[in-house]
């Protein structure tokens, strides 16, 4: 039962969350809800990336008592995706904050959070 391994489960969860996030973005009318959906989407990507880097039954990529410099290659999980995720998390937070600021700004102009009220530009 290979799908019972943790990396499969987390991968599947990530992909599901991805879809749920997308669904939220395209179905919710409220701008804040859209942003929340985006943050779900963001989290899901992190989860997927970490799952990608996971190697069965290996430990964290830190040289310490458990893992020595010499046998690191056989004992640790892939550190690279984790590095990517670190970067992605911070980017995600920046983008989310930016979206929220935009939402705030839009709200202060038009007093509504309905995205389909912002259609003065079209065609």
């Amino acid at each position: 039962m290979k799908y019972f391994n943790i990396e499969y489960i987390s991968m599947a969860t990530g992909l599901f969350l991805f879809l749920v996030g997308l669904w939220g973005i395209i179905s919710q009318k409220n701008i804040i809800k859209i942003i929340i959906s985006f943050s779900v989407l963001d989290t899901s990507i992190h989860l997927i990336l970490v799952s990608i880097g996971y190697i069965r039954n290996k430990t964290a990529p830190i040289i310490d008592g458990v893992v020595s410099k010499t046998d690191a290659a056989t004992k640790i999980v892939d550190p690279l995706p984790q590095a990517l995720v670190l970067t992605a998390i911070v980017i995600g937070v920046g983008v989310t904050a930016l979206m929220l600021t935009y939402a705030l700004r839009m709200y202060s102009e038009n007093k509504t959070l309905e995205i389909n009220k912002y259609k003065s530009l079209k065609w």
Binding site: I25, E109, K122
Partner: protein, 1042 residues
């Protein structure tokens, strides 16, 4: 060389430090930023120069003291050097443009701008896909921040839509990158390509996600509403950065990651690009908002470049040349246009007429517009040329059609726009935002287009064969435009005369070409004489007049297809500007341009078909084309747009009639022969005599006959003198087409005689009538009358002109008629021949109307003081009259050598015209122009003497001394029978003049607009819908690929 990483380091550290200068006022910060931005530009340009100087291997920038697959590396090769140069120059001038805006916005925006430029540099240089992701995010976010430079709600909401869309796209990109890493075990682009692990299951989907994300960043049609909104609402200076800068980087990203995908994906990418190009331009035609329209155009152009990247396997080593040509034109022109838009400040494209307050800006607008469409000498012309040629070589004709269709649609709105700018009234309250910091970028970019042209010419295959002397002469005239008109006129005339002298030896033996060269150059000089009567500067006239003539003469000189098409487009461009100078020419010049553009693209397509499967560019490739049917038909229709065959003629009457007095003869008497010469080239290519039975020729023969009747019939019912002459030109070009379609020796002689005649008399008539119109300030013939007393010289000119036109012996018009009959009977095209004859008699009607209504009949009170037209109009007229006389008396001087050429060069050896002294004869009949002239002359003089003797005491009487039922007529107006002169004729045959053709084209026009208008509703303005579009786009492309 400076390590390119310093570009990043300097930009970043300055932007970090600028945060400190928030309080003391931002002047220092702005200045520092501007100076800082010069640094990357200098660095990357110096790299570019080095790579151009000697091809060396790319410079790799390693980071972290490690080597590529493990650490991030950047690359500076020639491509990167070029693109970063572009981006950094754009950055510098873009910043300069926004210099004042930044004062109001504060330091934050300055910082954002610096980071944006930095990000673009890294995106171009990096070789690591995750790094790519990070810096794409940086550029997107910086742009989104900069959108806020305009603080209205539209900008904010557009920014939000953009932000959401970009975030979703980059999430998908990140997903793809993650899986690529999983399957390939690397993030390095070069490493990935060398590992060649595309076959792994799941890999292709991962790669798909990455590529589709990058494609979506490039805003493919129709999943691009978010991009359009930003183009529309952002500060134009920022839109310029998006359109030019961001697109540059994204395009290069696409190019970098392209090797990831399977080869057949190229087709998909090409399709994505071309569909974007066509679709976006299609929707653009219904758009009136300048910035949004520029957005449509940008997206379209970027789509085309995506297409080029998709076509890269077919382009081979030409890829960079093609890309360069189209890219640099888009880059410079679009940035320039957005900047101009910012200076105008109003949204409707009609407001651009304010540019007329600053002629230099108007020129810049023209340069940008022409560069976008792809007119020579701009690089896009060569890019498009080579693209089409290479596609043709691979048999991709569907794509060529699509690309040309897209270009055509782009022309539809760009020329409407340009026309508005040139012609519409300036709104009273409108101001131009002129700051030196705004003018410099626009000017520099316009000039750089010319530099880029130079580069493109050097690199396109066959480009070095182009004769650029006329182009330099045109540029010289641009520079000298500040001089008074008279001096420029002399320069132009001398230039043309000198060129004619230079050219003559090379054409001496080829009489066929010599005739046309003569028409173009001699005619050019003669028509320019009229220009001496213009006072003032006549700004912008001479460069374009010379451009038109340069194009025409280029046609004659052309030895290969590129030269021919180059000349053709040059001619179109010049004549368009000449035509639009007329007071009411807005819509006519627009029609002219659209038909010309359509025609040019058909020619282009025809040429592409001709060279397909063959090598080189020589004109003789037309002879051996593998697709004769299509190629010839397309070329023929293309040339027919210029000769205004019925169905394609609707641009002509207005364009010729509303042009300035001395422009009408240029565009009518001379320009139309360009199309005729094109037909000659085509027909010669069709293999001369053996093609005589070609169904195309048969069709063209009928078309010529119908055009002759239609054009002349329309002319009969005109009240506008110049319009009458214009329709007459339609008819006459019908004759010419008909005659050339014979493909027999005598037929061609007929065609050439008609061509020469039409040149002589139509130039003469338009000069004369133009002069009259200039004096009386109306085109309506019924308002004139009796002007023979005021303008006797003009009257004589018109009289000679119409005698020639009507083909009455002894003048040379008859030569054409006689040859024509012989040709018709030999060929056996009796019914068409009868139609053409019928049209000849109709011509008589309007000839009479023309001369009677203007010069005879009752003189009007208001014109009793008008003077004869200026001597500079009379002079060329009488030179032309001398020409007519000489040609009438001694047609053998011209026709004999041509006939000899036609039969000896192997074109049409059978049934030639035989000459015995001055008498020509065929199997059917004979004709001696010289003797006829002599007989008639002697007889006329004798009879005149007889009458003079008999009525020597004739008494001159006053105007109203006529037998008028015993009364004196009230006013000349009521006594001058002129308006609706041929009413009974209209009753009888007017049904033939119902403007079905005009209605047809209007129908086409309104259908296209209606389609565009309804289809663009998909851009609902709802950001969420745009996301749905993006997802749908991903899914659809996925389903197509897999």
């Amino acid at each position: 060389m400076v390590n390119p990483v310093y570009i990043i380091a300097v930009l970043l550290s300055v932007s970090f430090l600028l945060g400190l200068f928030r309080k003391p006022g931002s002047d220092f910060a702005r200045l520092a930023a501007l100076i800082t931005l010069a640094f990357p530009a200098i660095v990357s340009v110096s790299w570019l120069l080095q790579f151009l100087g000697e091809p060396t291997s790319p410079f790799i920038i390693y980071t972290a003291g490690s080597v590529p697959p493990f650490s991030i590396n950047l690359k500076m090769g020639i491509e990167e050097a070029f693109l970063t140069s572009a981006v950094n120059i754009l950055g510098f001038f873009g910043f300069l443009y926004l210099y004042r805006t930044f004062k109001e916005s504060g330091v934050s925006a300055v910082v954002l701008f610096l980071v944006l430029v930095m990000g673009l540099n890294v995106v171009i240089m990096t070789r690591d896909i995750f790094n790519l992701f990070v810096f794409l995010e940086i550029t997107s976010i910086a742009l989104i921040g900069l959108i806020f430079l305009k603080k209205d709600i539209n900008a904010v909401s557009a920014g939000f839509k953009y932000l959401i869309a970009v975030s979703v796209i980059s999430t998908i990109l990140l997903l793809g990158i993650g899986f690529i890493y999983y399957f390939a075990g690397t993030l390095n682009i070069d490493d990935f390509v060398s590992k060649n692990s595309g076959a792994v299951k799941g890999m292709s989907t991962a790669v798909f996600l990455v590529i589709i994300a990058v494609l979506l960043e490039l805003k493919p049609f129709p999943a691009n509403g978010w991009g359009l909104d930003v183009y529309q609402s952002a500060h134009p200076g920022i839109s310029a950065m998006i359109s030019a800068g961001m697109a540059t980087a994204s395009l290069f990203v696409l190019y970098k990651i392209l090797p990831f995908g399977a080869v057949y994906w190229m087709q998909i990418i090409a399709a994505v690009g071309v569909i974007t190009f066509v679709g976006s331009n299609m929707l653009g035609i219904a758009q009136k908002n300048a910035n949004r329209l520029l957005g449509y155009s940008s997206i379209g152009q970027i789509g085309l470049m995506v297409g080029i990247i998709g076509f890269s396997p077919m382009l081979g080593k030409h890829l960079w040349m093609v890309f360069f040509g189209l890219f640099i034109s888009h880059f410079l022109a679009k940035a320039g246009l957005f900047w101009l838009s910012g200076m105008i400040g109003k949204e409707n494209i009609k407001s651009w007429s304010v540019l007329r307050k600053q002629p230099l800006l108007l020129i810049a607008f023209g340069v940008f517009a022409f560069a976008l469409i792809g007119f020579p000498p701009f690089p896009s012309f060569f890019g498009k040329w080579q693209l089409v040629m290479d596609l043709a070589a691979h048999g991709q004709f569907g794509w060529i059609v699509a690309i040309l269709l897209g270009s055509m649609l782009e022309g539809v709105y760009l020329f409407r726009w340009l026309g508005y700018a040139i012609k519409l009234d300036v709104e009273a309250d409108q101001k131009l935002d002129l700051g030196i910091e705004k003018l410099i970028p626009v000017g520099v970019f316009a000039l750089m287009l010319f530099g880029a042209s130079h580069f493109a010419i050097e690199n396109v295959p066959g480009g070095l064969t182009l004769n650029l002397i006329p182009v330099y002469f045109i540029l010289l005239l641009f520079v000298l435009d500040f001089l008074p008109a008279k001096i420029k006129n002399s320069i132009a005339i001398l230039g043309m005369a000198y060129y004619a002298w230079l050219l003559y030896p090379s054409l001496q033996d080829d009489t066929l070409r010599l005739v046309f060269a003569g028409i173009f150059l001699v005619g050019g000089v003669l028509t320019l004489f009229a220009g001496y009567s213009v006072k003032g500067k006549r700004a912008g006239f001479y460069p374009f007049a010379i451009m038109m003539y340069a194009g025409l003469i280029g046609l004659v000189e052309a030895k290969n297809l590129l030269q021919f098409f180059f000349a053709w487009e040059l001619m179109t461009l010049g004549s368009y500007v000449l035509i639009i100078r007329g007071k009411k020419s807005l819509v006519h010049a627009y029609n002219y341009m659209l038909f010309s553009l359509g025609g040019a693209y058909l020619i282009f397509l025809g040429m592409a078909l001709s060279v397909a499967g063959q090598h080189g560019l020589s004109l003789s490739l037309l002879n051996t084309t593998h697709f004769p049917g299509w190629a010839y038909t397309l070329l023929a229709i293309g040339f027919l747009t210029k000769t205004a065959a019925l169905g394609l003629h609707i641009w002509l009457p207005g364009a010729h009639a509303e042009a300035e007095s001395d422009v009408s003869p240029m565009v009518s008497g001379i320009l139309l022969k360009g199309g005729a010469f094109g037909l000659i080239v085509l027909f010669l290519a069709m293999g001369a005599e053996k093609a005589g039975g070609h169904p195309l020729l048969y069709a063209l023969g009928w078309l010529g006959a119908i055009t002759a009747v239609g054009g002349n019939l329309m002319a009969v019912f005109q009240e506008d003198a110049k319009r009458l002459l214009a329709y007459s030109s339609v008819g006459n070009l019908g004759y010419i087409l008909f005659a050339f379609a014979f493909m027999t020796n005598v037929g061609w002689l007929t065609g050439l005689t008609y061509s020469i005649n039409h040149f002589l008399f139509k130039t003469l008539l338009f000069l004369a009538i133009g002069g009259v119109v200039m004096r009386v300030k109306t085109h309506n013939m019924y308002e004139m009358g009796g002007l023979i007393k005021r303008m006797p010289w003009s009257f004589i000119a018109v009289l000679i002109g119409i005698i020639t036109l009507a083909g009455i012996p002894p003048l040379s018009g008859y030569a054409g008629k006689w040859l024509f009959y012989n040709a018709v009977i030999t060929k056996g095209w009796y019914f068409q021949g009868a139609m053409v004859f019928f049209s000849g008699t109709i011509a008589f009607l309007y000839c009479f109307k023309l001369i009677y209504s203007i010069f005879l009949g009752q003189e009007k009170d208001k014109f009793r003081k008008v003077k004869e037209v200026p001597v500079w109009y009379i002079l060329p007229q009488f030179i032309l009259i001398i020409g007519i006389m000489v040609f009438s008396a001694r047609p053998d001087l011209v026709l004999k050598p041509i006939g000899a050429l036609l039969s000896q060069a192997g074109y049409f050896p059978t049934d030639p015209l035989t000459w015995e002294n001055v008498t020509a004869s065929t199997n059917l009949g004979y004709w001696s122009g010289y003797k006829i002239m002599l007989v008639i002359g002697v007889m006329f003089v004798t009879l005149l003497t007889w009458l003079l003797v008999m009525s020597r005491k004739a008494q001159k009487v006053k105007q109203f001394n006529i037998v008028y039922s015993g009364e004196r007529p009230f006013t000349p107006e009521t006594t001058h029978f002129s308006h609706n002169m041929f009413a009974p004729y209209y009753k009888a045959l007017g049904f033939l003049t119902i403007p079905v053709v005009t209605s047809f084209w209007e129908g086409v026009n309104s259908t296209a607009h209606a389609f565009a208008d309804s289809f663009r509703k998909i851009y609902s303005g709802n950001g969420q819908t745009y996301i749905a579009h993006i997802l749908a786009y991903i899914i659809i492309v996925y389903l197509i690929i897999f």
